[in-house]
Amino acid sequence: MEEILLVGNPNSGKTTLYNALTRSNEHIGNWHGVTVEEKKKMMKVKDKNFLLVDTPGLYSLSPLSFEEEVSFKIIEGKNYKKIINICDRNNLQRNLYLSLCLLEENLDVVIAINEIDKKVKFKVDEKKLSTMLGCDVILINAEKKIKVDALKESLLKENIIKPLPYLEKIDFSVVKNYFKDKNKNEQTIFAIKAFERNESFFKLKGYSDEEIKKIFSLVPTNSLEILTEARYNFLDEVIDKSCQKVNFTYGKSRLDKVLLNKYLALPLFLLIIAFIFFLTFFSLGAFLSDLLSQFLSLISSPILSGLKSVLGESWVHYLFSDAIFNGLSTVLSFLPQVVLLFFFLSLLEDSGYMSRIAFTFEDILGKVGLSGKSIYTLLMGFGCSTTAIMTARNMDNKNSKIKTALLCPYMSCSAKIPIYTVVGGAFFGASNIFVIMGLYLLGVVVAILVSLVLDKTVLKSDNQTFILEFPPYRVTSLRRLKNILKNNVKTFLVKVGSIMIAMNIIVFLLSSFTFKFQFVLDGNGSVLQEIGKFLAPIFEPLGFNNWAIVSALLAGLVAKEVVVSSIAMFNGVDYNATKLISSSILLSTSVVYFPSTASVLSFLVFCLLYTPCLASISMMKAEIGTKWTIVGIIIQLVVAYVLSFIVYNIALSFEIFDFCPTVLVILAILLVLVSIILIYRLIKHKKCPHNCSNCHRNCKK
């Protein structure tokens, strides 16, 4: 099948158009570098089939980053029928720079100008543009699918290639002479590439370093400047003649006066995030969760009793009721929270606010070895680490990507909430909310510390070139809202939900069968229990050497949401995921398991910090490779063990004086103080001796 390439600057709407043309649902985000690998899908034009290829964004045909290299190779491979070059109308001149690079190579291009924002009165004359550039130009709206059909039709046409006028004014003769055994067309292209000092191009064409050096010596030293100036001068003329000029700066907004303000940015950000968390985990999310579980228990009882009458009291029945059905209902009970959190964060991403946050905190996060974009992934981690780790792929810097993915699990995911509410609630009652807040905070602080250590040792941040276009604020359309919601539900249900249910089945099998494949109902003698008993002594120093707790933690390795139900099962309580609040039942029985409140605290800290579920481990392996995943697991286990030990001993020493709640408060205050000192030390930097306002200490005054 013949291929059609979608090529354009980052954030110009390529993926949006790709989704529109192929009816797919690839991730779209209002920032740089969302698509990092090529994506292909079939597209029908009249009765011909084409393969549409979505490529990562690029600024020119001299690639600098890895993604640009990907696109560059596809374009130079010339293995396609036509290129759709999508340009953002709001920043037309800069976008057309890439178009010129494509046209100079005589590639068959149709330019699609994406009218992202109707409000901007920036009229573009397609016909004039078309005659000046010598290719088809069509104004489209990728999201609303306006004129997309006209674009499709133009794909069937052949382009009449016309020489670009500015090229005639540049003296290519010397270097053309070097390529005299090539045909006229190629001579010009190769000469342009020599002027661009485009190493990637000549390497791709099989030239040796020696030859490349020779070629570059034939052009003037400022050849690139000559060429870019000629291109931009031509573009000035093109824009002048074909567009009605309006004086505006794309991406500039009065909102930024507030949102990017040095003093307001952080408090506002915290406020917005607090509001989102409130909506997700308390008001709206909790309400939806309740509604869903009520609905589930309503439909589950007749189905389960029906199953029982068919299957009897066999293990198959329990497989269905305990593993599959309970698994399904836990997945569904998290669904509202996870989806809501992701929905709000996607909204922030799409509106352009996330890019502002990434910008404002770029340098602070840089100090702890992360990049501004990490914040998005890390926030996602509070919903579900597995899905969050997937978003780390958008990071432009490999080391920050690995670090971000490794730190994600420290953001306490929503599957851990039942552990905190049920186990913590049973022991701390009303003050449990402070315990939970303390745990969340602890997770963040540990993440910062781990990141600092990694940054200073094995995962130094490589100082990458950092020149990015700043995206504008965008109002997300209803259509996009619907898509975001649909996407989030789908990812969570399909990618995460299916693994979670599978894991539930595994835990069920391990906790219901003995090593001799005998079925046991209460977990007594099961594989899980045996391993739990074997490992229990290791947890002695942490205050909970009981096999039931250890077995529950083991089950938690597979999936965090089964920790509570495992404790219940080993307690002989008929635990139902739809009754998360019934901690009093647990309380009565699990007191046996936790000898002191100190050991409960230590258990909760361990749950917060130890290895995430198998689903996120497998995602980590896919995203950052086996080596780093193993390193991550080791770090997590060690950190969890050490911190639980510390917490247990501190709490224990206070418990002697019967001060447990006070311990928490003191611990929390200490943590906050430590983090404030840390952040302060990070922010403090030496003043420039010359006292200039914006200098970076290296000014040469």
Binding site: S62, Q93, T228, E362, T465, E469, H685, N694, H696, C699
Partner: protein, 76 residues
């Protein structure tokens, strides 16, 4: 002439030259339209002033300070 990093916020400067010290960076600057004589303006900086927002040719770029110091400007 001075590096853009020591410029003031919201004041237009004219690009005088771009140091070729880092060839990759100089190339990207040119490709993005930062050529001699072009007007450039600092709009904002990140908290530690390690990243700058600059306005050029009607759009905004975010650029790390150490790269920005390659751009030499003078007052309009």
């Amino acid at each position: 002439m001075m590096p853009l990093t020591s410029g003031k916020l919201n004041i237009s400067y004219k690009i005088k030259s771009i140091s070729g010290e880092n060839e990759k960076v100089a190339r990207r600057f040119l490709e993005l339209g930062l050529i001699k004589g072009q007007a450039i303006k600092i709009l904002n900086t990140s908290i530690l002033k390690k990243v700058f927002l600059v306005e050029i040719r009607g759009y905004i770029l975010s650029i790390k300070a150490d790269l920005l110091s390659y751009i030499l400007v003078e007052k309009m």
